[in-house]
């Protein structure tokens, strides 16, 4: 399977420096993928918060093919992050209707760890700190879980360390980043970089970046975007959730969706972002 190849070596052989090449990739891949099943197919997905029974997702429809870059925008509380969390199996939410098919499998039947091992990755908006567990220990444990899933031998501490060091350069962090406890005492920027480091180490068929740009300064944002660009291949896809244009300019999504009241209210391309910036979400979502 081509999918499993992309997991081990997310990106080393094909250097892409200019972001716009991705759009070419995206087009080619999208064309090729038409004959195949979509990477992710969400149909009429409905979900509520377990504790309060409040319905948040009210019929989301979304199709992502291999190699595509999607962005979801929308005002606060429209359900963007809930959508991402439901996809990765967050226990705070319960799916009440609809279906999600990922790589031809019913995603909703899988445990969160099985979803991850299938190649679904989500960067957390505010990643939790894990005192007492070092970053390299955590990364290697996760990477070995994935290798095991792929039928590859697990890496020992030494091999693992050199693999991690290689990935560390992608996010422009110093080696001591690995010795620190997972997210403990990390600045906002360091936490976001750490999420991308995890993505680089683990690889993914579909990476969901939930507000990866929030709280990042200009330099950190550029680092994160360039790392993501290097990780992307024609075979894997990206879904980002954001409020800001800046990261869209850096990652060039092929599809932009506006979410409103638990649904995708409108889908377009980057040009729609101009309309949103000019007129606000209300007007743009009302245009459907």
């Amino acid at each position: 399977m081509a999918a499993s190849l992309s997991l081990q070596l997310p990106f080393l052989s094909s250097p892409t420096t200019k972001p716009h090449t991705h759009r070419k990739f995206a087009c080619v891949a999208a064309a090729a993928a038409k004959s195949e099943i979509p990477l992710l197919q969400v149909n009429d997905l409905r979900a509520k918060i377990v504790e309060s029974n409040v319905e948040i997702l009210r019929g989301v429809n979304l199709t992502i093919n291999r190699g595509e870059i999607h962005a979801i925008m929308g005002k606060n509380g429209s359900g963007k992050s809930t959508f991402a969390k439901v996809l990765v199996g967050h226990p705070d939410y319960e799916v009440t209707g609809g279906s999600v098919v990922f790589k031809g499998e019913n995603l909703l039947e899988l445990e969160p760890e099985e979803r991850a091992l299938e190649g679904l990755f989500m960067s957390f908006q505010s990643p939790v700190a894990i005192p007492g567990v070092s970053n390299d220990q955590f990364l290697l444990m996760a990477y070995n879980a994935r290798r095991k899933k792929l039928g590859l031998p697990e890496l020992g501490p030494l091999e693992g360390f050199s693999y991690l060091m290689e990935k560390l350069q992608l996010v422009n962090m110093k080696p001591d980043f690995l010795n620190r406890n997972v997210n403990e005492g990390f600045s906002g920027g360091e936490r976001k970089r750490n999420e991308i480091l995890q993505l680089a180490v683990l690889g993914a068929d579909l990476a969901i970046l939930d507000e990866i740009d929030s709280g990042l300064d200009v330099d950190a944002l550029r680092d994160v975007a360039s790392a993501v660009n290097k990780i992307l291949t024609p075979e894997n896809s990206l879904l980002m959730i954001t409020h800001y244009r800046r990261i869209l300019d850096l990652l060039k999504p092929s599809h932009v969706h506006v979410m409103d009241n638990g649904k995708i209210a409108r889908t377009g391309d980057l040009s729609m972002v101009d309309a949103i910036e000019a007129d606000g979400y209300e007007l743009v979502s009302a245009l459907t």
């Binding site: 199996g89 990755f121 989500m122 939790v128 996760a142 879980a145």
Partner: protein, 496 residues
């Protein structure tokens, strides 16, 4: 009023008063309790708190008869027997024992563990492979100091490590001043004082830094099988004196032989530490007794000005593990750091009663206590008292206790408490009791790690914060692997 009391108002002092018995001291000189008993009965009518409890009288008598009294220990024994007889057996109604069940001790026939025979001294203690890190080793078996199993007790610069009975000259005088001079504690402190066969002394003269740690290995060999009423008690006692500017590391390890893993016994140890001005003691304490044993331990520390005391403890053994930790500040600018981890993986109680009394300015203290209870009949108890008295201005005292309860009905009773009378201080305390955090588990799962593995890693990491503080890698490694095997889903637990 400048006082702020951040403590439950009904807090009782931990040390039961034994002063009311002083009037009876003359009657105890004879050391024959049969006689004493008859004499004492007349006091009972006058409501003087002399025990008429036949169990305690019997116990005192047994202990008294078991060993000869070496002359230097005479004063200690007298004071101890006196307080033993004036202290009632603690019940659940007494605050310090509210959550700690001692009834199984009381229902036993308590016997002092005899001096081990030469054949038993050939055992290999579990900590014996640490020769590289601990060249200086003091061996106790069933509370008795075993010279033939101890090593490298000779030190330069006037450092003395050995029995009080072999000590002479000025150092002996100094030590003797301290032997019975420390403020005592409860009944168990007194039992040790009465029945300790010897006193091990670690003496560090002024300005001397002892390079190698002093390793104290306490091994319990003699136990009773299930069904027997006999309970062997051992009473090792150690005094550490560090004079002005001196430094020493103490490593205490309590364990049992594999042979008596399923046997019960009672280890009732006392460690006293006196740290002179600017001195420093780093104390490591590891307790891995049999899961059927009773382990009651006293650590009493006195800190002169600018001195440092650091304790790192990991206790996992015993049906009952109780650590009484008392620290008293004798001068300003002291530093006290206490890190403790208690683990209950079976039908066991792990109990820490700590008391830190600050009477002088600019003391600094940090206390971290962690408990993990992984069994529905397991229990952890913590009563941590920090007193910041009137003259202890600019004290910086922090206390935090965190407990993980991993099974339904697993129990923890924690009472962190600060009593603050000084008005210019920085004090904090906190208590958290929880299962593992869902958000942390999800983070592991979201990266492809299954929840069982994630739980194991998180539980281990919780304890790791304390384990990492042991100053010696061999101790850290041993404790880590020990805890790993206890947390393993298929632990080989003693039948409980």
């Amino acid at each position: 009023m400048s006082g702020i009391a951040l403590t439950p108002t009904a807090f009782n002092p931990i040390i039961p008063s034994s002063s009311s018995s002083s009037s009876s001291s003359s009657s105890l000189k004879s050391h024959k309790f049969i006689k004493t008993r008859t004499k004492l009965t007349q006091f009972n009518n006058n409501a003087i708190s002399i025990s008429s409890d036949p169990f305690l009288l019997n116990l005192a008598e047994t202990l008294e008869d078991s060993i000869p009294t070496p002359q230097p220990l005479q004063k200690l024994r007298e004071a101890s027997s006196e307080s033993l007889l004036s202290t009632p057996w603690p019940s659940r109604r007494d605050e310090p024992f509210r959550f700690t069940d001692l009834s199984f001790l009381r229902s036993s026939h308590i016997l002092p563990a005899p001096i081990p025979t030469t054949t038993t001294t050939t055992v290999t203690p579990p900590f014996s492979d640490d020769d590289d890190q601990f060249p200086c080793h003091i061996s106790f078996i069933d509370g008795h100091f075993i010279n033939s199993m101890s090593k490298n007790l000779e030190f330069p610069d006037g450092v003395y490590v050995g029995s009080l009975l072999n000590l002479s000259g000025k150092v002996a005088e100094r030590v003797l001043e301290l032997v019975s001079g420390l403020d005592g504690g409860d009944l168990f402190w007194s039992i040790n004082g009465m029945a300790a066969p010897d006193l091990m002394v670690v003496y560090v003269p002024e300005g001397v830094r002892v390079e190698n740690p002093v390793h104290l290995g306490y091994l319990s060999l003699l136990g009773s099988k299930d069904g027997s009423k006999d309970l062997y008690i051992s009473n090792p006692r150690v005094l550490v004196v560090v004079e002005k500017g001196g430094e020493v590391d103490i490593v205490e390890e309590f364990s049992n032989d594999e042979e008596n893993e399923n046997e019960f016994y009672w280890s009732n140890a006392v460690l006293e530490v006196v740290i002179g001005e600017g001195g420093k003691v780093r104390h490591s304490y590891i307790q891995t007794q049999s899961l059927l044993a009773a382990h009651i331990k006293w650590t009493s520390v006195r800190q002169e000005s600018s001195s440092t005391y650091e304790l790192t403890e990991v206790s996992t053994g015993g049906k009952l593990g109780r650590h009484n930790l008392h620290i008293k500040q004798l001068g300003p600018d002291t530093v006290t750091e206490l890190s403790t981890l208690h683990l209950s993986v079976g039908n066991q109680t792990q109990d820490l009663h700590s008391s830190l009394v600050l009477d002088h300015p600019r003391g600094f203290s940090r206390q971290l206590h962690k408990c993990i209870v992984t069994h529905s009949q397991g229990q952890a108890v913590f009563d941590g008292n920090v007193k910041v008295n009137r003259y202890a201005q600019q004290t910086d005292a922090g206390q935090l206790t965190r407990s993980l309860l991993l099974e339904p009905r697993a129990t923890v009773n924690v009472k962190p408490n600060l009593q603050i009378i000084a008005d210019d201080v920085k004090c904090s305390h906190g208590a958290a009791i929880s299962d593992l955090e869902q958000s942390q588990l999800l983070y592991f799962q979201a990266r492809g790690i299954d929840s069982a593995t994630a739980r194991r890693v998180l539980i281990f990491a919780f304890g790791g914060e304390v384990i990492d503080k042991f100053p010696y890698s061999s101790v850290r490694d041993r404790v880590r692997s020990q805890i790993k095997s206890l947390l393993d889903p298929s632990p080989k637990l003693a039948p409980l």
